[in-house]
C-alpha cells in the first residue's frame, strides 16, 4: 500500500511538470520582427524582456529600470524609437536586422552586454517586443539601408585624403586632434535627453559602438548616431570618399591593423609633409 503511494507521488510529480509545459504554449500575437528567414513574436518575449532587459530599460521600455540610475551611459529609451546603430539614413527607423545585431553585439564600454548566447529565436522575439514600446513602429516603416560601395584597396593616398576629411568635417572638434575624444566641444555634448555624452576615444583601442569592421565604421558616420551629437555625413562626404575617412580613422586606434602598419611606415619618413589637425591657424 505504501509502495503505491510512493509511485503515485512520482507519477503525479512528472505529470505536473508535463501538464505545465503544455499549458505554456500559444501566446497572443501582436508585433513581429523579421530577420532573414526568422520571425520573432513580441508575445513570446515578455518573460524574456523581464528576465534580461527590464532591469535597465524598464518594464515600459522607458529607460527607467531599477538599475538605470546607476548606469552611465543611460540605457536606451525604447518609447522614443531613436536608435544609434542603424543601416538606415538618419532620422529613420532601423531595420529589424539592425536591432537584432545590436542585441547580439551589445555596446562596448556600456552596461549593454552581447546577448549572443541567447538563441536567435529569443533575440528575434525581443526585437519584436522592443517595437511595441513606441507607436512609431505602427505608423512608420524602417528606412531603406544605405548603399555602401565596395571598399577600395588601401593606400597612403586614401588615408591622407581621409585625414583631410577629418580636418574639413571638423571631426576633431569632438574627437580631438589625435582622436582621444578630447576636442574643444567634447565637454559640452549632450544627447537627446540632455544627458552628458562623451565622444568616442579612438585611442581606447576598443571596438566601435556599432561594430568592429570597416564597414561598420563607414555606416556610423554615413548614418549618424541618432540621439547623439554625432551627425550623418551622408550629404557632405561622397560615398567613395567615405572609405578614405575609414582608413584614416583606423590609424588612430592603437591596434595592429593594416592601416596602422602602412601609416606608421609612411610617417617614419614623411611626417613633416603633414599639416597639424585643428582649428584654423594651427597650420591648415
Amino acid at each position: 500500500m505504501r509502495s503505491h503511494t510512493r509511485w503515485l507521488a512520482v507519477v503525479s510529480g512528472w505529470g505536473v511538470l508535463l501538464c505545465a509545459a503544455g499549458g505554456g504554449a500559444a501566446p497572443a500575437r501582436a508585433q513581429e520582427s523579421h530577420i532573414g528567414g526568422m520571425t520573432g513574436h513580441a508575445a513570446a518575449a515578455k518573460p524574456l524582456y523581464e528576465r534580461y532587459c527590464a532591469g535597465c530599460h524598464g518594464d515600459e521600455g522607458d529607460a527607467r529600470g531599477e538599475n538605470a540610475q546607476w548606469i552611465d551611459p543611460k540605457p536606451r529609451d525604447f518609447t522614443m524609437a531613436v536608435f544609434k546603430c542603424r543601416s538606415t539614413p538618419t532620422g529613420t527607423l532601423p531595420t529589424d536586422a539592425d536591432l537584432f545585431d545590436a542585441v547580439t553585439r551589445g555596446f562596448v564600454t556600456t552596461n549593454m552586454p552581447p546577448w549572443v548566447a541567447l538563441t536567435p529565436g529569443n533575440r528575434a522575439d525581443l526585437v519584436a517586443y522592443i517595437k511595441t514600446f513606441s507607436p512609431k513602429w505602427k505608423t512608420g516603416h524602417a528606412g531603406t539601408p544605405i548603399t555602401i560601395p565596395p571598399e577600395p584597396a588601401l593606400s597612403i593616398e586614401s588615408m591622407r585624403h581621409g585625414r583631410d576629411l577629418f580636418q574639413k568635417m571638423e571631426c576633431w572638434k569632438c574627437h580631438g586632434t589625435s582622436g582621444h575624444g578630447d576636442g574643444p566641444s567634447a565637454a559640452t555634448l549632450t544627447d537627446n535627453k540632455d544627458l552628458p555624452i562623451h565622444p568616442y576615444d579612438f585611442s581606447s583601442g576598443s571596438r566601435f559602438m556599432c561594430g568592429v569592421t570597416n564597414r561598420d565604421l563607414y555606416k556610423i558616420f554615413m548614418t549618424g548616431l541618432d540621439g547623439t551629437p554625432m551627425p550623418s555625413f551622408a550629404d557632405d562626404i561622397k560615398p567613395a570618399d567615405g572609405w578614405d575617412l575609414v582608413h584614416f580613422l583606423r590609424t588612430l586606434q592603437p591596434l595592429d591593423t593594416p592601416e596602422a602598419r602602412m601609416w606608421k611606415a609612411w610617417l617614419a619618413t614623411h611626417a613633416q609633409e603633414l599639416k597639424p589637425i585643428g582649428p584654423p591657424g594651427t597650420g591648415q
Binding site: R6, N67, G106, V108, S134
Partner: protein, 467 residues
C-alpha cells in the same frame, strides 16, 4: 497607439495553479508519511557546498539574477558564456580598474530552514534489528563566502571559503584563471581547486535537502569501496578549456591530483584526467539552446603507502589502481520546460573494491524544471543506480542499488540586481538496497540483511538567500 501584450493564456495560469496545488499536496503527503516516528539521531547531510549564484556580479554589472540564471543558482546560456569568459561580459569594463574603489567582489549565501528526515531500517543500540529514525526541526545550512571576479582583464580569480553550521571552516574553491589566451576563447587555463566542468552542475543546482541535495551519479561508490572519488567534489589541478564565441561549443581537459580535492597531497603522485565536450543547438523557441555533451574521468588511487610506526605517510601512495567514469548528458528545452537527462557508467579496479572482480555500475537520471516565470519554478528528479558487477561475487547483485526521487519548487519574491532570495520547498526520498542512504541520514549503518530496502526521506522548507 501602443500595442499591449496580453498576458499568458488562462490555460497556462491553470497549469501553474495546478502545479502549485499538486506540489503542495505531495509535500503534505510526504509530511504525513514521514511523521509520527520516534526521534533519534540523524546524521547530517553530505555537506555539499553550493558555489551558487553570485550577486557580486549582479552588482558589478547591474544585471538581474535572471540574466545569468534560469532561476538562480542554475546558469542559463548567457550565464554559462559569462562564466566561460572568465566572469567577463566583454564590454571593455571587466577589469576591476573600471569599478568604484569601494566595490568588493564578495557575496554570501546561506539557508535558514526547517526540515524533516526519516530513514527506515536503522540499526541502533536499542533496536539491533533496525527501526525508523526521524529528526525534525529548524536548522541552518553553512555559509558560503563567494569571492569571484577579475584581477585584471582576462585574469580571473575565485575564492570560496566556507563555514559550516557547526563552525567548521573549509576552502571550497581557490583558483586563478587566464582567459582568452592568444586572444582566443578556445584557450583558457585554470589552476587551483575548482568544480569540474560538469554540464549538470551539482554546485549550481536547485536542490537543498539531505536526500535531494546531491546526485548519486556524482558520489556513488559500491559497498566496500576504498575509492574516495566524487564527480561532485571540487578537485585540485589544472584545467585547459575553450569555447566558441557564444559558448555553444565547449570543451575542457583537466589534470588533477588523486586526492579528491583534499589539500596537502595526502594521496599519491599519480594524476587523474578528465575531459568534457558539449555542443548546443538553437532550434525552436525554448528558453535556451539544446545542449548535448559527453564526459569522462580516468583516475587512480594508491593502494599502499610508506609508513612510520605503522601510520601511512601522506603523499607516498603507490600501487596505483585505476577507475573510470564515462557518461553523456543534455540540457533540453521544450518551451519553458527544461529536461536534464544524464547517463553514466563507472568501473573501479578490483583492488579498490571488496573482492576479486572489478565493480561496475550504471546510473541514469532525469531532472525537469518548469520555469513558469523568472521567479517561480517547479522541479522533479528521478535517478537510479544499478550495480552491474559486484566486486565480491558472493555479494547479492542488488546490494547498493539506489533510487532517488525529488520534487520541489522555488519562488523568488523579488528580482533585482543586488541580491536574491528564494522560498524553497522540497521533498526527496531515496531507496537503497542493503546499504545506508548516501545522504548520511539515519544511523549510517548498513542493515543486517543485504536485501533490505532502506527508505530515507527529506522534507525541507527554507529561505535561501544570497547577498
Amino acid at each position: 497607439m501602443r500595442v499591449r501584450i496580453t498576458r499568458r493564456g488562462g490555460t497556462a495560469q491553470m497549469s501553474w495553479l495546478l502545479s502549485a496545488a499538486v506540489t503542495s499536496g505531495c509535500l503534505a503527503a510526504a509530511l504525513a508519511l514521514s511523521g509520527g516516528r520516534s526521534k533519534a539521531y540523524t546524521a547530517y547531510s553530505l555537506a555539499v557546498h553550493k558555489a551558487s549564484a553570485i550577486p557580486a556580479f549582479a552588482r558589478k554589472y547591474g544585471l538581474r539574477c535572471s540574466a545569468c540564471h534560469t532561476v538562480w543558482p542554475e546558469l542559463n546560456a548567457f550565464g554559462q558564456r559569462f562564466k566561460d569568459n572568465g566572469y567577463q561580459l566583454g564590454n571593455e569594463r571587466d577589469s576591476p580598474m573600471w569599478q568604484s574603489p569601494a566595490y568588493w567582489p564578495i557575496a554570501m549565501r546561506t539557508t535558514p530552514q526547517w526540515h524533516l528526515e526519516s530513514t527506515t531500517h536503522q540499526i541502533t543500540d536499542a533496536a539491533p534489528a533496525g527501526k525508523t529514525l526521524s529528526q525534525t526541526g529548524f536548522d541552518l545550512s553553512g555559509v558560503d563566502f563567494l569571492l569571484l571576479g577579475t584581477l585584471h582583464k582576462n585574469i580571473t580569480f575565485g575564492l570560496v571559503p566556507t563555514l559550516d553550521a557547526d563552525g567548521t571552516t573549509g576552502l571550497e574553491a581557490a583558483f586563478v584563471r587566464f582567459d582568452n589566451l592568444g586572444q582566443s576563447p578556445w584557450a583558457n587555463l585554470k589552476v587551483g581547486k575548482f568544480e569540474l566542468d560538469n554540464l549538470l552542475s551539482e554546485k549550481r543546482f536547485t536542490w537543498l535537502s539531505n536526500n535531494g541535495g546531491f546526485l548519486y551519479a556524482y558520489h556513488y561508490l559500491p559497498s566496500g569501496s576504498a575509492n574516495n572519488f566524487g564527480f561532485g567534489d571540487n578537485q585540485i589541478g589544472a584545467e585547459f578549456s575553450g569555447h566558441s564565441f557564444n559558448s555553444y561549443t565547449r570543451y575542457s581537459v583537466a589534470l588533477l591530483t588523486t586526492d579528491d580535492g583534499e589539500p596537502g597531497l595526502p594521496g599519491g603522485k599519480s594524476m587523474d584526467a578528465m575531459f568534457t565536450l558539449s555542443q548546443a543547438f538553437a532550434p525552436g523557441g525554448g528558453l535556451g539552446p539544446q545542449r548535448v555533451g559527453v564526459f569522462g574521468y580516468l583516475g587512480h588511487r594508491p593502494t599502499t603507502f610508506e609508513t612510520v610506526v605503522g601510520a601511512p605517510i601522506p603523499g607516498t601512495g603507490a600501487g596505483n589502481k585505476s577507475f573510470y567514469r564515462i557518461g553523456a548528458t543534455a540540457q533540453l528545452w521544450l518551451g519553458n520546460l527544461e529536461l536534464l537527462p544524464l547517463v553514466s557508467h563507472a568501473q573501479d579496479d578490483a583492488a579498490l573494491g571488496p573482492g576479486p572482480e572489478k565493480p561496475t555500475w550504471n546510473n541514469a537520471l532525469l531532472e525537469a524544471h518548469y520555469v513558469a516565470t523568472p521567479r517561480f519554478m517547479v522541479q522533479g528528479r528521478y535517478e537510479l543506480t544499478r550495480m552491474s558487477t559486484q566486486g565480491d561475487p558472493a555479494t547479492p547483485q542488488t546490494l547498493g542499488d539506489a533510487d532517488a526521487f525529488a520534487l520541489g519548487f522555488r519562488y523568488y519574491p523579488f528580482m533585482i540586481s543586488r541580491d536574491g532570495m528564494a522560498l524553497h520547498g522540497e521533498f526527496a526520498m531515496t531507496r537503497t538496497t542493503g546499504t545506508a542512504p548516501l545522504s548520511g541520514d539515519g544511523s549510517g549503518v548498513d542493515p543486517a540483511d543485504p536485501a533490505t530496502k532502506v527508505w530515507s526521506r527529506s522534507l525541507l522548507l527554507a529561505f535561501d538567500f544570497a547577498f
